[in-house]
Amino acid sequence: MRFKARVLEPAEIERALRRIAHEIIEKNKGAGDLALVGIHTRGIPLAERLAALIERFEGVRPPVGMLDITLYRDDLSEIGVQPRVRETRIPWDVTGRPVVLTDDVLFTGRTARAALDALVDLGRPKRVYLAVLVDRGHRELPIRADFVGKNLPTSKSEVVKVKLRETDGEEGVELWER
């Protein structure tokens, strides 16, 4: 793979998240009842960071959960490599709450679709939002994000690498060519 460009610097990620936090509060008319669910792997630190920002702005920290979508993937009967099943932990009742699903990159929409199915199996949320750091286009399903850090037009041969301190030890978003 060949490096092409640095797309977001750490400060820009921070700014994008702050903006998203504000938008969430605005759209939800406050932080009341709000909860965040991060999708493995990088959606989880993003959810944590958003929860911290919302707490800073609103004085209330929304609860955070983690969701693994492996068992909901639509390609399990076709793939040649076995994905590891990771932990799903949502230690609060999903039913009746507005829930923000968070992930690092929105691409085909299949992960978001699986996450929606998984989430509704856990309860009946009042409403589900989708927040992503990067939307790189090329949707294969009728899915869109409610909150986007950066819209990044890409070609299909490009790879978007999101690196977060919590998971990668460094911070930034990069564009690579396959």
Partner: protein
Amino acid sequence: MGALRHLLDFAGWDRARVESLLETARMMEEVLERPMKKVPALKGFTVATVFFEPSTRTKISFELAARRMSADVVGFSGAGSSLAKGESFKDTLLTLQAMALDAYVIRAPVAGMAHQAARWLTGAVVNAGDGRRAHPTQALLDAYTLLEELESLEGKKIAIVGDVAHSRVTRSNAELLPLLGAEVWAAGPAGLLPERLAGARLSTDLDEALADADAVMVLRLQRERMDEGALPSLREYVAEYQVTEARLARAKPHAPLLHPGPMNRDVELEGALADGPRSRVERQVRAGEAVRMAVLYHLLVGRAA
């Protein structure tokens, strides 16, 4: 380690594979705790339970595990006596194979039948107990239960008590638990002990086996052993080998008590113990479902390409 194609026994397994499977089982148990106990992971897969020997519990556990993962399930039950007559064993398997199934959960009365089936079938074979040979999912659920209690099995003494010679549960545990660092003791009457069992220390002295044990596993005593002459007297067995509250005092305090079921109360163990605070028998049943879900996931997903 390569992908798991069949689960016949633990030959060729290493600790990493065991831990990865048990980790998946823990993820599966989370599914069982949900109000909606079902995931779509195995949608489109078909699992056959092929039982040449009756076992309601194991069959239900596997079928439930498959259904929790949205697999289709078909069942075949054939009496063991038909095996003696003709070639029904292989024919049955090949007939099922013609129906394009993905996995075969096989329970059979004779050691090696799961291996034979794996030779003939293209799908994944799960050994649900073959004669005295192996019962790998039972050992996995035992390990799962023990790890939950003891956190680690490193250096832990696990005492298995009863009809060791005829026990597939013991053979599988003697293969599996040492991979996790456990020291396995197997105790029983002289006529019900094999001359050697890799992975286990054998003893005819129950007290020696129980001394400072971190956990105790009691085996079911098959009454047909008396007819075969392998065990001279039930009275003697009960006197010498029944696991009782008093004898358990030799084990570590709170050492959990496991039993693969079904139990003969007041034969292999004192009846009250089965429902007492040490008993993990019910825990084993739920662990069994989670472990079997994990086994099906590990065998079926990632098999393509």
